[in-house]
């Protein structure tokens, strides 16, 4: 629903609301907000047709800072509001802002089902592997053994892998990015916004107050090239500061190729994000440091009809076949009788 007669090019500042941003100084959320605001003008969607919906958590304050329509809902339920809104109003661009606690703990069921249904929305999950707003309890993505206020001798919970969860739920677009890699982040969000269907983006985000250095071990700039692997459609999976290592599958077992030992880039797996079968994407999603490099980028981008479009299509099809409904006729349906 672009207003074709008014092709006014908006700028980033047009998407900045008048509300003061209240995250802790140094929070990774600032970067995600900045990249989101930066992306908005590129979408060529009128501001009034964009809606940001969030749940509860530090991340979920984001809609207040976007000068679009926004709804800061309740804990875990953002996907439900987004589904209702998008189903009722397929013309809108709907964004869900959630976190590891909001989306994967209290709202896990809804996150599962919005992706299963392939509702055409973008979901950005801020994963800082901690509860920040409630001041530092372990989350469903916290590593086992994590010591927090509520796990003084270490968490015994096994962590959940958000992208693997999304792939398991049938999300048609699944990507992972990093708060501090702003270029990668904005590019990934742009790809997500272009995808028809549920786009799930996990953003690995640092909480410098309650979980500082959450991803430091592999995401710090100095070590990142050796400990993370950027996946790109059509390209072989290569990583390393010297681009001297590759990745391939031996059956379903990941293998690291060392080009110094006779292997070459030709031996590496070529990434195909369009596969309908999510198996390889899931293997990539589940790779973890230190055994394997952590994958970032678009793991899957596969299109199929969306929930909101199919709902609308069914209605149009029934109207085509039966004509538009007539209330008077409907009320008078069935075995009626007349009393004189």
């Amino acid at each position: 629903m672009t207003t074709a007669d008014q092709p006014i090019k908006l700028a980033r500042k047009d998407f900045v609301s008048d509300q003061e941003v209240r995250w802790c100084p140094g929070c990774g959320d600032y970067s995600i907000l900045a990249q989101t605001q930066k992306l908005m003008p590129e979408l060529n969607i009128p501001r009034e047709n964009i809606v940001f919906i969030s749940g509860i958590g530090c991340n979920s304050r984001l809609p207040y800072y976007m000068n679009t329509y926004g709804f800061h809902s309740i804990h875990g339920r953002a996907p439900t509001l987004a589904t209702g809104l998008k189903a009722a109003r397929p013309d809108l661009s709907v964004w869900v802002i959630t976190g590891d606690g909001d989306g994967l703990s209290i709202g896990g069921n809804h996150l599962l089902h919005i992706m299963r249904r392939n509702v055409d929305v973008v979901i950005v999950l801020f994963n800082n592997r901690i509860y920040g707003l409630t001041k530092g309890q372990y989350s469903p993505t916290s590593e086992q053994g994590k010591v927090t206020k509520t796990s003084p001798v270490g968490s015994i919970d096994y962590p959940l892998n958000p992208c693997s969860f999304a792939l398991g739920a049938g999300a048609t677009f699944v990507a992972r990015s990093l708060d501090i890699d702003t270029h990668h982040l904005v590019t990934t969000l742009e790809r997500a916004s272009q995808h028809k269907g549920t786009s799930f983006v996990e953003v690995m985000q640092n909480c410098n107050v309650y979980n500082d250095g959450a991803y430091k071990e592999f995401a710090d700039k100095a070590v990142r090239p050796d400990r993370m692997i950027e996946v790109e459609h059509g390209n072989p999976l290569i990583f390393g500061k010297e681009r001297n290592r590759g990745f391939r599958l031996n059956g379903t077992v990941p293998e690291i190729l060392d080009f110094a030992n006779g292997a070459s880039a030709d031996d590496a797996l070529v990434h195909d994000e369009t596969l309908e079968d999510p198996t390889i994407a899931t293997i990539l999603a589940r790779m973890d440091y230190p055994e394997l490099p952590v994958a970032m980028g678009v793991l899957r981008a596969f299109e199929r009809p969306t929930y909101d479009a199919m709902m609308e299509d069914q209605i149009q099809e029934v109207i085509r076949q039966e004509g538009a409904g007539d209330l008077e006729a409907l009320l008078n349906e069935g075995d009626a009788w007349v009393v004189e």
């Binding site: 009034e48 329509y69 009722a88 109003r89 009393v339």
Partner: protein, 618 residues
């Protein structure tokens, strides 16, 4: 008994209960009998009673399903306290229903099913027909199963299929007994089994066989005629509360010219509403079967934010799950409607049994001061009007509104005078468009409603949510003075709905010794008992609340005109608590929680304990 089977006796009202295994088709037989009586011109009222289990073991007590229909030559308000006639398709049906039968009632027994094996399944020591427990009843034994099988011997249908038709044989017998035409059911069979003429033919054959059996078998001393009632002229159809509810919400959507979006999770006894609304695609109605109750209310709120009529439906346990999100709708001031078809609780309770024990949950079951509107239909047909009212109030006042139905209303049926579209209330919604004057929480002076600004409107971009709002701007704000003002504004807004709803009407004298005050599905029992008492010259009036929050403005005045107030409810006194608290009236309750509809006799007996004085008759 051999003589006089042609004799016809005229009676004013008959209540029949069809009972059998849940696979025996008692619901269908009852429904067909109801339609036929209604088409003939009787007033009718029904109450189905079925087990929560889909198919409990055949012949067991848990598996008994029944359908009660009352039909009459005068206006009736209930499906009758106790049946005059029981059709018992097996011993279990006899055992579970016998306690409801007054002595002298007619019992028609399917003799073929009264076997040793079935006695054991029904936990009878021996043959109940021979141990004297049926003394005082008029028992007629009909070999329904074998007569049906004989009638369909030539049908070519498999034995299993043949057996499924026996309810129609029994129905045929009842049609003869009450002098009813077979036509409506024959027509129904033709259309229902249009694609399977063999089955249609078999069903028609056995229905007629039952009728002729009644005529020729000379088992019945007489048969009965219930003359036409004299209802208001118009076109009628039989309708259940849940059907009327779905149609009412659709009508609201058409009247407001706003698309309806219904999100719901299946739950007894509200699931029918989703099934009905899912049929209305040609009206642009969007329905969504969600993953759970939380998602259903969330999706309804999302749709409402988008400018659609956001609606969700459920029963008690589901309302509990929706509480937090309803609070969000209170804070966001969005016009969501929540239909609650109440059932017996607490917890899972008795899913297929009725109760009215969610009133306080609807009123107060949320964290914080969380006022909303509550409306409650009194009869199945009235579900249509109150569903429209729910959306009228919700959209006019930008307030979540709970529509409180119950299992008895939802699955009970009665004749509904089909309204003309032009007679439906005219309603409209307004969406702001002017960025210059728009503030998200700037209120209408009369209603205190905030503007319903919808995404897509340039210049009105704004953010709402569950955090406390600043008056006028809607920004997040935590200061004491603002929170107190907003809390009062939300409450005041709901109070002002009272200026926009009809005053409470009193049935009978406007003052006197006793007022019987009710709400919801107890209407039929209350009004029947009050009319009886009035006919007996007692100083009793009735009033029935359709609006529970806020109450009609004149409620306090009405209460003050009576020496005593009786509040019959299918709970332990929830409206009673509200009335006593709000009006400081020493009202008393008549509280029944049997899972069954309120009985006229119970209300009548209570009235007699409270009112001694007769009105002086001129």
């Amino acid at each position: 008994m051999a003589e006089g089977s042609g004799d016809v006796r005229e009676v004013a009202r008959v209540t029949i209960r069809f009972a059998g295994d849940s696979g025996d088709g008692s619901q269908l037989a009852g429904q067909q009998f109801t339609n036929t009586a209604a088409i003939f011109g009787n007033d009718v009222s029904t109450v189905p009673d079925y087990p929560a289990e889909i198919r409990a073991p055949a012949g067991s007590l848990a598996g008994v399903s029944s359908f009660q229909v009352s039909f009459s030559s005068h206006e009736i308000y209930t499906a009758g306290d106790n049946p005059d006639v029981l059709v018992a398709m097996n011993p279990a049906a006899l055992k579970t229903n016998l306690p409801d039968l007054p002595k002298g009632s007619l019992i028609i027994i399917n003799a073929d099913e009264f076997t040793e094996a079935n006695f054991r399944k029904a936990a009878y020591e021996g043959d109940p027909r021979e141990d004297g427990m049926l003394a005082g009843f008029r028992v007629i034994q009909v070999p329904i199963t074998s007569m049906n099988a004989r009638a369909l011997k030539e049908s070519g249908l498999p034995q299993r299929q043949i057996s499924r038709s026996k309810n129609l044989f029994a129905l045929g017998v009842m049609f003869w007994l009450y002098e009813r035409s077979l036509e409506p059911t024959l027509n129904w069979i033709d259309s229902k089994f249009a694609k399977n003429p063999q089955v249609a033919e078999a069903n028609k054959t056995t229905l007629k066989a039952g009728f002729y059996f009644g005529e020729t078998a000379e088992l019945f001393a007489e048969h009965y005629r219930v003359p036409k009632a004299n209802p208001q002229p118009g076109k009628y159809r039989s309708i259940t509360g849940n059907e009327a509810t779905a149609l009412g919400f659709l009508a609201a959507s058409q009247l407001l010219k706003k698309p309806l979006f219904y999100a719901s999770y299946p739950i007894t006894p509200a699931s029918d509403i989703l099934a009905e609304l899912a049929k209305y695609k040609s009206f642009g109605v969007k329905t969504m079967q969600t993953e759970d109750e939380l998602a259903a209310i969330g999706a309804a709120i999302g749709a409402s934010f988008g400018g659609a009529l956001g609606l969700t439906g459920t029963s008690g346990p589901g309302l509990a799950l929706k509480s937090e999100a309803i609070g969000l709708a209170v804070m966001a001031e969005l016009p969501v409607v929540i239909a609650n078809v109440q059932r017996s609780g607490p917890s899972t309770g008795m899913p297929s049994k009725t109760e009215q024990a969610d009133l306080l949950q609807a009123m107060f079951g949320r964290n914080g001061e969380s006022p909303l509107a509550v409306v409650a239909p009194a009869t199945p047909a009235e579900c249509f009007d109150m569903a429209i009212e729910a959306f009228r109030i919700a959209t006019k006042f930008m307030v979540p509104t709970i529509f409180l139905s119950d299992g008895h209303l939802g699955s009970g049926s009665e004749p509904w005078r089909i309204p003309a579209i032009k007679d439906l209330p005219s309603m409209e919604v307004h969406h702001p468009t002017d960025p210059e004057t728009f503030e998200p929480y700037q209120r209408d002076e009369t209603t205190l409603a905030r503007p319903w600004a919808v995404p897509g409107m340039p210049g009105l971009e704004h953010r709402i949510g569950g955090l406390e709002k600043s008056d006028i701007t809607g920004d997040v704000r935590y200061d004491a003075e603002n929170h107190e003002r907003m809390t009062h504004l939300r409450a005041e807004k709901v109070e002002r709905i009272a200026d926009d709803i009809p005053e409470l009407k009193v049935d009978g004298e406007p003052s006197g010794e006793l007022l019987v005050l009710g709400w919801g599905s107890t209407y039929g029992a209350i009004i029947s008992a009050v009319y009886q008492a009035q006919a007996d010259g007692l100083s009793v009036s009735a009033a029935h609340l359709r609006y529970l929050n806020p109450f009609p403005k004149n409620l306090g005045t009405v209460l003050s005109q009576f020496e005593r107030v009786l509040i019959p409810e299918m709970n332990l006194g929830q409206l009673l608590l509200l009335i006593r608290a709000r009006y400081l009236v020493d009202a008393e309750g008549l509280n029944r929680v049997t899972g069954r509809p309120m009985k006229t006799a119970d209300v009548a007996a209570k009235i007699r304990t409270l009112v001694r004085r007769k009105v002086s008759v001129a």
